[in-house]
Symmetry: C2
């Protein structure tokens, strides 16, 4: 399921049916294969040949769609990561934070569920949190900073209303992010080590409830 293959796709809507060459379809296949390989191996260790092979193409072909490996990586992240930020922006639109705990209860579980649903993307983000790379700054500027700017008022309001156990907003926020990235980005490891499947629906719910506990609960 990980590598989208050109052949079997049925695009019955439109009349166009090129049996053999379908650029748009192969482009998607490359993006999907690249997400898998990047998530598994990391940017450096993921060779363009391995990505092409996972997509069922030749290495030289990648250059047709993507000017460079770095550009491919960037488009992979953009293609899959917008969801979270858009969801967040829409959910916070026009909220005056007069009842921050209600806002948080409405917004944050959905955000965490985005991570749980996209383990490959979650790993990709985790990688950029663990290495100083030319891509690190880009991720921070493009996603990290905007998301934090979006959520900082919420976390500040939460603390002002006696949540977060009195911790600084940033501490609570990065606690949440770290817990989510590790928990949902390491399903295989956690399953192997502890026999606990963090991809399973019930466990996802339990994990989200646990992560958000100190955020949503009133101070003792």
């Amino acid at each position: 399921m990980t590598l989208g293959m050109t052949v079997s796709t049925t695009k019955s809507a439109k009349a166009r049916r090129p049996q053999r060459y379908d650029g748009a379809d192969n482009r998607r296949a490359v993006l999907d294969a690249a997400l898998t390989v990047f998530a598994d191996l990391g940017f450096e260790a993921a060779s363009t040949r391995a990505i092409a092979a996972a997509a069922g193409l030749e290495q030289g072909h990648l250059a047709y769609y993507f000017p460079s490996k770095a550009a491919l990586w960037q488009q992979v992240v953009e293609a899959f990561a917008r969801e979270g930020e858009d969801l967040l922006r829409a959910a916070l639109e026009g909220d005056d934070l007069s009842r921050p705990e209600q806002t948080a209860a409405r917004v944050l579980p959905g955000l965490l569920r985005v991570f749980a649903r996209n383990p490959r993307l979650t790993r990709l983000m985790l990688q950029e949190f663990s290495v100083h790379s030319p891509r690190h700054q880009w991720v921070v500027d493009t996603f990290g900073a905007p998301v934090w700017r979006l959520l900082e008022p919420l976390f500040a309001a939460l603390r002002a209303h006696g949540r977060l156990s009195g911790a600084p907003p940033a501490v609570a926020y990065f606690n949440l992010v770290g817990a989510a990235l590790i928990t949902f980005g390491n399903r295989d490891l956690i399953l192997r080590l502890a026999g606990c499947d963090t991809g399973e629906e019930a466990t996802v719910d339990a994990a989200i409830a646990y992560i958000l506990g100190p955020v949503l609960a009133p101070a003792p």
Copy 2:
């Protein structure tokens, strides 16, 4: 401070003072420089030339102490990571877990403080949590699994005593690990983004208290 230089080291205790060649000293310098470069760039992106340069030596010289780049990496982790596991093992020795919340309050803050004190090593661990590499299995076998085996009874007992907000022990454990790795492994990022210094003593205390809140607090 990051690169230990051979020259200036004053070893006034012993009589030995080889002005120019000091193998053991340079070996330490390489390990320290390697820790820095590996933590910053990740294993693949960290070239042996960069490591040698950071240690003030030539690339070819590394082979004198370490048979390969992978072996160097492994010795770096071993040299710096034993502290945590040993501390944990000693602290849990002979504990019958009849009062798990007391045990946790005695043991876990110290464990988290090991992460806070060693940001470079923390980043290194974070990297191996985010990539499937030949080193991943080794870290899991050598540190991940033993530590989990050590702590699993404690977390199981905590839950049996009404802590963890009813979450599975593994969820609570990896929540803790993820929060610690991200919080203490990204001091620069968090400082830049949110103006919060997770290397500062007071913030470390606040973060540890926050992370351990659900672990130590009784169920509502």
